[in-house]
């Protein structure tokens, strides 16, 4: 007879999967108007897949919300529309109208202002507009130092702000889901997943991801040590800018001018995982917005960013 199976023996990914499903069901059971923030990235893909599992054979009882900055890679938008339709999700897309009116963009206004207007403020607008009381995000604790400190159920006040010094204690998986009108909870079902877990799970479950994660020949320009892909004609090119066709892929996806590509030949999932295992830099390294200043993620989160 084999030795008794304990919960410590439940395979690692199954444990993480069960934890995320439990979290999602708690949200559906306790909140009047939840929403899933969908960023189109690999973590969002995993989160969508888990949502399909959590409520099966019923449908996930919430829509998807994409806060579009109008500067996402074109392939991301195409992927978003295809997946939402295939899985039958109600997809809400919000763009900050003030940003459109002022024509805000990363090249003209800088990454910090662009992110604040088109992501942070836009997200706040969208949450207010629809009156969502709980919002799922795909953030993981291994991504960044302030994320490592955040609860799975993360309370936000009426101004959508996070107060890191006054987080609710979070005991076991007995979540305090009570809020007043106008307040909200951000929920992170992937809190305990690592980047490797995400890739392994994508591989194991055969989850569709945006092709930009796989290496291909793409037109890129080197800027401040970052490889920026020329995704459309809005990219200003100076005489010193040399557009090269290089085999690159992306470890994370965001606004194309702010997301650095890495040179890579990994054109299959397996190769991507193999490359990741040998990586010497963290995945957020390619994100221009994290480098603005130390503690910048925490600052953005306190302002309502995810």
């Amino acid at each position: 007879m084999s030795k008794a199976l304990s919960h410590h023996d439940l395979p690692h990914l199954e444990r993480l999967e069960a934890e995320a499903i439990h979290v999602m069901r708690e949200v559906a059971a306790n909140f009047a108007k939840p929403v899933m923030l969908y960023s189109i990235g690999k973590d969002s893909s995993v989160m969508l897949h888990l949502a399909m599992k959590a409520f099966y054979p019923a449908r996930p009882p919430f829509p998807l919300l994409h806060v579009d900055t109008l500067w996402k890679f074109r392939e991301m938008i195409a992927f978003r529309d295809r997946i939402a339709a295939e899985l039958g999700f109600d997809l809400l897309v919000h763009v900050n109208p003030d940003g459109i009116a002022e024509n805000v963009g990363p090249f003209t206004h800088g990454s910090s202002h662009h992110t604040h207007v088109m992501k942070t403020l836009a997200l706040r607008q969208a949450l207010d507009k629809y009156g969502f009381d709980a919002a799922f995000g795909g953030a993981r604790r291994d991504e960044e130092k302030s994320r490592a400190k955040e609860r799975i159920f993360s309370f936000r006040n009426g101004a959508h702000a996070w107060d890191p010094k006054a987080q609710r204690p979070e005991m076991w998986k007995t979540y305090n889901t009570r809020i007043h009108k106008g307040e909200e909870i951000r929920v992170f079902p992937l809190s305990n997943w690592t980047e490797l877990d995400i890739w392994q799970y994508i591989l194991k479950e055969n989850i569709p991801i945006v092709p930009l994660y796989l290496a291909a020949k793409r037109p890129v320009v080197e800027r401040d040590g970052m490889l920026v892909m020329v995704d459309d004609a809005r990219m200003p090119l100076g005489p010193e800018d040399k557009v090269e066709e290089r085999s690159v892929r992306f470890r994370t996806l965001g606004c194309y001018p702010l997301t650095g590509a890495i040179p890579s030949e990994a054109d299959t999932l397996e190769k991507v995982v193999a490359e990741m295992l040998a990586a010497t830099t963290s995945e957020r390294q390619g994100r221009a917005i994290d480098r603005d200043e130390a503690g910048s993620m925490e600052k953005k989160k306190r302002e309502g960013y995810f």
Binding site: A4, P11, H12, H22, K149, P169, M171, N176, A294, E298
Partner: protein, 629 residues
């Protein structure tokens, strides 16, 4: 390439098969917890180049080690933490070795942040208790060890840190280890492993240190990789708290949840814990296909052979080994909030899936974390630990915490602020008779209000006849009732049919009318109710009299401000017509004056908004008032 692919597959399989250990680091301030985890991440080569570069720059800016890397800065991710050089909240980090995967919770040492230490401990299987070798065992060392044991942690590593500052003195190490073992003997740990180390220099963290030749035990990492954490696993009784009923169509009714104990197979008999109704498992449904067996930890949807009444808050369990179902219980409580626990006060008790109102009926004793002695106590202050009896408004299904951490825990929530006030570990159920002896306390207005979970109020609607007072008041009462508030409505017409039927409409009678209603409203507020008064109440002086009878802030004047022409147009009872024809004497607005309020708490414009929206506005106003209270 084919080989590389095979290698990768093998590697990934090995990753999958690794066991996982969740542990926390705890102990007093400055004992080096964050530094130790930073050191573990560094030594296991889990830091990326950009993270190391950031650490080097942070170390120069905020570091406490001069030019050397300050590993604590890897963990202290909040600005306030880096500025103050302390840990405020728990950080979760992930690392893996050849043998195991780890999730480590780095918890704060300050007593003030005990709640965050408890948060980290509640999901951990092992505690690394750090001690500064120069200072030995401190109150916080004992407090954290006691809380770890309360939360069900059975394995402890006593990390005697900073030995480099004492020239790796063996006698100091032995003395601290002996001290700790003497204290911990009562805490029920299965293993206590003392390790001499220096987190800063890495002695005995990952590799055996040449500085401690007298030490023959394992290194910290060696121990973490091999310590056996035995779960009772599938041997435990089956427990399945229902998270939700899944009902996509008429043909499917399933119960979603995560197995909290034991195992279940298709065909097994099960019982609904609260009702005792029995059935059998017909299907174990998952998105990837039906299963024949589900074990502890798995999230599944169960379909039963029979239609039995079952919903969130209930539990499916093994028929032979049922959980307790009771509304009286004894529990250990860790208190988190700045406002102390007061017996007799009403709280919301939440288990994983059930929510009920409760009161602490008796605080039996507080545990002195230094001596583990039982001290008499009348309340439990922040960071205190006590044993108490609780009385619940309705029964819950539970196990003793030491039998099952999932089904034996609860949190207490403040009814107004929604703050998480404390965490409970259930000891055992009490028979009602054992627990009806309430804490000696006066039954007064506050007690009556608290048991209803509300602040008493007198919502005084004033306005012309036909202004819409009663319509809005009715709608408001429905709203408040739906929110679980205890209300009563005093309506002008109804009172005049009973209590005030001896009164007419002269000015003197109108004054007496209001006086009596105000007295009744006052009694009802004293009973803890939210009283809704809907009276024309035309005179300022009488409304003032009513206001002065209530406690400060209790009287809320709501002016239903509808112009007389509109009231006359609506004329729901045909009174304006009669008054204009001279058939009613002393009719307010026609033949008797109406003195509009100058500073009402709320003014409602019935021309601009619908009655239901106005009622919602009042309910929101009440909600804000509750939060302020």
């Amino acid at each position: 390439m084919a080989d590389a692919k095979k290698d990768l597959a093998a590697y990934l399989r090995a990753q999958e098969d690794k066991s996982m250990l969740r542990f926390l680091t705890c102990g007093s301030v400055d004992d080096g917890k964050s530094t130790l985890i930073g050191r573990l991440l560094y030594d296991t080569k889990l830091l990326f180049e950009d993270q190391l570069a950031a650490l080097a720059s942070d170390s120069r800016k905020h570091g406490t080690n001069g030019e050397a890397l300050d590993f604590a800065l890897l963990m202290d991710g909040l600005e306030a933490e880096r500025e103050q050089g302390i840990t405020i909240d728990v950080a979760y980090r992930f690392f893996a070795t050849e043998k195991r995967k780890f999730i480590v919770a780095d918890t704060p040492g300050h007593e003030e942040y005990t709640r965050n230490m408890a948060t980290g401990a509640s999901t951990a299987d092992l505690a690394v208790v750090l001690v500064d070798a120069r200072r030995g065992i401190l109150t916080q060392t004992r407090r954290h060890s006691y809380i770890a044991s309360l939360l069900g942690i059975r394995h402890v590593v006593l990390a005697v840190n900073k030995l480099d500052l004492l020239e790796y003195d063996q006698a100091t190490f032995e003395a601290i280890a002996d001290d700790y073992r003497a204290f911990a003997a009562e805490l029920g740990f299965e293993t206590v492993t003392a390790i001499p180390l220096s987190a800063r220099f890495g002695d005995n963290v990952m590799t055996r240190s040449p500085n401690t030749p007298w030490y023959s035990g394992p290194t910290l990492l060696g121990h973490l990789e091999t310590v056996e954490i035995a779960g009772r696993g599938v041997d435990r009784p089956f427990r399945f708290p229902i998270q939700s009923v899944v009902r996509p169509n008429q043909d499917f009714r399933g119960f979603a949840g995560q197995v909290a104990g034991g195992r279940i197979a298709v065909g097994d008999p099960v019982v609904a814990a609260k009702s005792g109704k029995t059935s059998r498992i017909a299907r174990i449904v998952t998105h990837g296909g039906d299963l024949s067996v589900a074990v502890e930890g798995q999230a599944v949807t169960l379909v039963l052979a029979d239609e039995i009444e079952l919903s969130r808050g209930n539990m499916l369990v093994a028929p032979q080994e049922r959980p307790h179902v009771a509304d009286q219980l004894q529990a250990h409580l860790v208190w988190f909030d700045a406002k102390p626990l007061i017996p007799g006060r009403s709280y919301i008790l939440r288990t994983e899936t059930d929510t009920v109102n409760c009161t602490v009926t008796a605080l039996k004793h507080e545990v002195n974390v230094n001596t583990l002695a039982h001290d008499a106590a009348r309340s439990l202050a922040m960071n205190g630990v006590g044993v108490c009896n609780l009385s619940l408004q309705s029964p819950i299904a539970f196990d003793a915490y030491n039998e099952n951490r999932s089904t034996g825990n609860f949190i207490l929530i403040d009814r107004y602020s929604n703050a998480t006030l404390g965490a409970g570990m259930i000891d055992f159920p009490l028979r009602r008779a054992e627990n009806v002896h309430w804490q000696a306390m006066e039954v007064n207005k506050q007690a009556r209000a608290e048991i209803k979970g509300q602040r008493p109020a007198v919502l005084w609607f004033t306005g012309l006849s036909g202004s819409g007072k009663s319509t809005i008041a009715n709608s408001l009462e429905k709203l408040l009732h739906a929110e679980g508030r205890h209300t009563y409505m005093l309506d002008g017409d109804n009172i005049r049919h009973g209590l005030n039927r001896d009164l007419g409409f002269t000015e003197a009678d109108r004054v007496e009318n209001i006086r009596r209603v105000a007295e009744v409203a006052k009694l009802m507020a004293d009973a803890g109710l939210i009283v809704i008064v809907s009276f024309i109440s035309p005179f300022k002086a009488e409304r003032r009299l009513a206001r002065d009878m209530m406690e400060a802030g209790e009287f809320i004047e709501i002016f239903v401000d509808t112009p007389i022409d509109e009231c006359a147009r609506r004329d729901p009872k045909g009174l304006y017509k009669k008054a204009r024809e001279g058939k009613i004497a002393n009719f307010t607005g026609i033949s008797s004056p109406y003195e509009p309020p100058e500073n009402p708490e709320l003014r409602l414009d019935t021309l601009a908004e619908e009655p239901d929206d106005l009622a919602r506005r009042i309910a929101d106003f009440m909600g804000e008032r509750l939060m302020q209270g």
